[in-house]
C-alpha cells in the first residue's frame, strides 16, 4: 500500500508538472470534454492532446470513455485506484479502532490482575 501510494503520487506529480495538463484539469473541473474539444481549446494537435490526456489518465486524474467516435474525458480516478484508496481508508478506520481497543484491553488486563489478587487474599 505504501508503495502503491508512492507510485500514485509520483504519477500525479509528473502529470501536474505540465502547464497544459493543469489547464486540462481545470477545464474538466468545469465540464467534461472530448479530446477534440480540448485540442481546439489548447490550440494543439489531436495527437498531442491524446498524449497529455494519456498521462493524466495514467495518474488516475482523468478517466475517458469512448462513445461512438468521440472520446469523452472527465475528472476522476480509475476504478482500481478508487478501490485501493477505499480499502486504505477502511484499513485506517480499523487501525484507529484497534489502537483504542489496545487501551481498553490494557485496562481490562490490569483489572483482571487486581481482581485476581483480591480473590487470593
Amino acid at each position: 500500500m505504501v508503495q502503491y501510494t508512492q507510485t500514485h503520487f509520483d504519477a500525479s506529480f509528473a502529470a501536474l508538472s505540465d502547464v497544459t495538463r493543469r489547464g486540462v484539469l481545470e477545464q474538466l473541473a468545469r465540464a467534461d470534454a472530448s479530446i477534440t474539444e480540448l485540442a481546439e481549446k489548447f490550440d494543439m494537435t489531436l495527437t498531442g492532446m491524446k498524449k497529455h490526456v494519456g498521462v493524466l489518465e495514467q495518474a488516475g486524474l482523468v478517466t475517458t470513455e469512448k462513445v461512438g467516435r468521440v472520446r469523452t474525458c472527465k475528472l476522476g480516478v480509475c476504478r482500481l485506484e478508487e478501490e485501493a484508496m477505499w480499502i486504505e481508508r477502511y484499513r485506517q478506520l480499523w487501525e484507529a479502532r484497534f489502537s483504542e481497543l489496545d487501551k481498553v484491553v490494557e485496562e481490562l488486563k490490569l483489572k483482571e490482575k487486581s481482581d485476581g489478587r483480591k480473590k487470593r487474599k
Binding site: I87, R89, E95, R97, L101, E106, L110, S114
Partner: protein, 167 residues
C-alpha cells in the same frame, strides 16, 4: 505493584492489514497484546465496545450501543452524523465465547454483509481476523463506490489542490 513494569513499557504497535480477498470479501487482521478472553470481553460488552468501535481520531461519535450477544440476539449502534444520526443494526448468527462471532449488517437491506470475527490466542496474544462477506460482487463494489465518490475523491482533490497551490 507487580503491574508497574507492564504499564510503563512502551506498547508495540501491531500491524493492521486490510485486503479484498475475493469478489465478495474483505479481510482485516490485527494482533492484540492480550488473551482472547479479554479481547472477547471488549468486543461483547457494550460499555467496552462503544469506547473503541467509533474512534474519535476518525471523527466518529457513538450515541448509543445495545448488544444482546447470543445466537439470534440483536444489536443496534447509533452514530452521530449530519443531517441525522445513523443507525447500524443486525443480529448475531454465531457466538462462541473467546473464539468467534458472526453477525449480520441489516441497515443496508439485503445487500448487507455478514461479518465474522475470530480470536486466536497464542502465547498470551490474540490474532483477530475480521471478515466481511457481501452477498455478491455487485454489493461489495457498490459499498466501495458509495464510500469512494464522496470521501475519496474529495481527499484526492484536496491533496492535488495543495500541490497545485504550491506551484
Amino acid at each position: 505493584m507487580d503491574g508497574r513494569k507492564e504499564s510503563k513499557a512502551a506498547p508495540v504497535k501491531n500491524l493492521t492489514t486490510a485486503e479484498r480477498t475475493s469478489d465478495r470479501e474483505l479481510v482485516v487482521t490485527r494482533t492484540i497484546n492480550a488473551p482472547a478472553r479479554i479481547v472477547f470481553e471488549a468486543w461483547t460488552n457494550p460499555e467496552h465496545f462503544k469506547r473503541w468501535w467509533a474512534p474519535k481520531s476518525f471523527g466518529l461519535t457513538i450515541l448509543s450501543c445495545e448488544m444482546d450477544v447470543r445466537v439470534g440476539g440483536g444489536y443496534k449502534l447509533v452514530f452521530a452524523a449530519e443531517p441525522e444520526p445513523m443507525a447500524f443494526f443486525g443480529k448475531y448468527l454465531e457466538v462462541v465465547p473467546n473464539s468467534r462471532l458472526v453477525w449480520t449488517n441489516e441497515e443496508g437491506g439485503e445487500s448487507g454483509q455478514v461479518s465474522t470475527v475470530t480470536f486466536k490466542e497464542e502465547a498470551g496474544k490474540t490474532l483477530i481476523v475480521m471478515r466481511d462477506l457481501y452477498p455478491s460482487k455487485d454489493a461489495l463494489d457498490a459499498a466501495i463506490e458509495s464510500g469512494s465518490t464522496a470521501g475519496g475523491m474529495q481527499e484526492t482533490f484536496d491533496q492535488l489542490e495543495e500541490f497545485v497551490g504550491s506551484l
